[in-house]
Symmetry: C2
Subunit: 216 residues, 2 copies
DNA sequence: TACCAATTAATTTGATCAAATTATTTAGCT
DNA sequence: AGCTAAATAATTTGATCAAATTAATTGGTA
């Protein structure tokens, strides 16, 4: 325990690392994860990795089989419907709340992220796209300052992360039209309704893409 | 490790135990919990208790302060609004799905639970009321067989559990009118709309009670 | 070759311990 | 007395290890 000046506990940072692995498609649906493998890959002890896995499991990003094996869950049609229901309820609400509190600085940051998204799409950079897309959405949601809705939303995103990776692998990134331009425009003009509508459409499109990779 | 024939891992059962402590009001909002204290009280090792705490923290039932202290969060108005929004969206939906799949056996079980609720109210048995009320709702929700909605709902219930205890302590259990009779009637008659409406009203009432204990 | 039992390897699980961090108490000073 | 600083106690944190469980492999038999 030779940590000189570490502020946050290790299981916290490890949790974030593993979460981002799931969120940004570094792990594939169905892929089994060993606790030692993760510890070795990250370069950490086994104990904090276990705690992080429990947390992610609670949020749905991972699942423990009855054999105690830890895997990345594979999306089902049934799940997708439930996720869409809640996303369409919570995220537009978060967007409205966020839009009302959004500073100009935030808007500029969002436009920068939107540019990053476009660039990633052009380059076919899947990981870059997934990450920038995530940051875009949650920059708005964070502005809403609604912890519980934010937590719920995040738990839904970790569930769809691996599937989005599959979507990109199947269709490529070029087919992705984004509603983000509309959203940022709405934010600039103070047109909250437009923001809400853009987000709704964005969610519907994303869910539809995933749906197509399931019912193959 | 002298477990003869234990099926589930220990952190799993400990998680359930602590969750029920939160759910049924055995811990008070603001109350700090030490990891050793819990381990001792439950009669378990420290490691599985830690894992259980991480899980409950991820679900919102507990919270870790910046000092790493673990506490039962105290409800705020802001949180209550968010919880109500999601509950009113998800739980009636779960009720509808559950009602459609509800066997007669389930209906009988629900009527039994409803009787338990009445009895607990008469006796002023707070813990009994909270537990029976929980079982009643989640018996319906479980019938819906919608894992994700169920998980979200459960995470909201662990957030309001401690507050409900406060509600009962303040107002007693006698003031609690229940919508459960209406719900079971609807289930028997196959009147899904009635079930949905009863649940909505039940949720609104519960949230209103909690609201009154906050804005004192 | 195909199939099944037995052995071996890999992994999870939970206890224990030292180090680090935080909370509490005591002592000293004005 | 009142307040600050040092010392003590309590708690968390992460590594390590033995036991248990599960997966993989080997060997034997029909």
């Amino acid at each position: 325990m030779n940590k000189i000046v570490g502020k946050k506990p290790e299981h916290e940072t490890i949790y974030v690392q593993i979460k981002e692995m799931v969120l940004f498609g570094e792990v594939v649906p169905g892929q089994p994860l060993t606790i030692h493998g993760l510890a070795e890959k990250i370069g950490a002890g086994v104990t904090p990795v276990r705690e992080a896995i429990r947390r992610l499991t609670a949020e749905g990003g991972l699942a423990t089989l009855e054999n105690r094996r830890v895997v990345v869950p594979t999306m089902t049609m049934h799940w997708l419907e439930q996720i869409e229901l809640v996303r369409l309820t919570v995220e537009p609400e978060l967007a409205v709340m966020g839009a009302e509190k959004c500073s100009l600085g935030k808007v500029l940051e969002l436009e920068r992220l939107d540019a990053l998204i476009d660039e990633a799409i052009r380059k076919g950079d899947i990981r870059g796209y997934l990450e920038a897309n995530y940051r875009f959405h949650f920059t708005i949601y964070d502005a809403a300052d609604a912890l519980i809705l934010r937590r719920i939303t995040e738990s839904l995103w970790v569930r769809i992360g691996p599937s989005l990776r599959v979507v990109c692998g199947r269709f490529g990134t070029t087919n992705l039209t984004d509603q983000h331009r509309e959203a940022t425009k709405g934010l600039r003009d103070g047109d909250v309704g437009k923001v809400k509508q853009a987000l709704q459409e964005d969610i519907r499109q994303g869910m539809e893409f995933i749906r197509q990779t399931i019912e193959n």
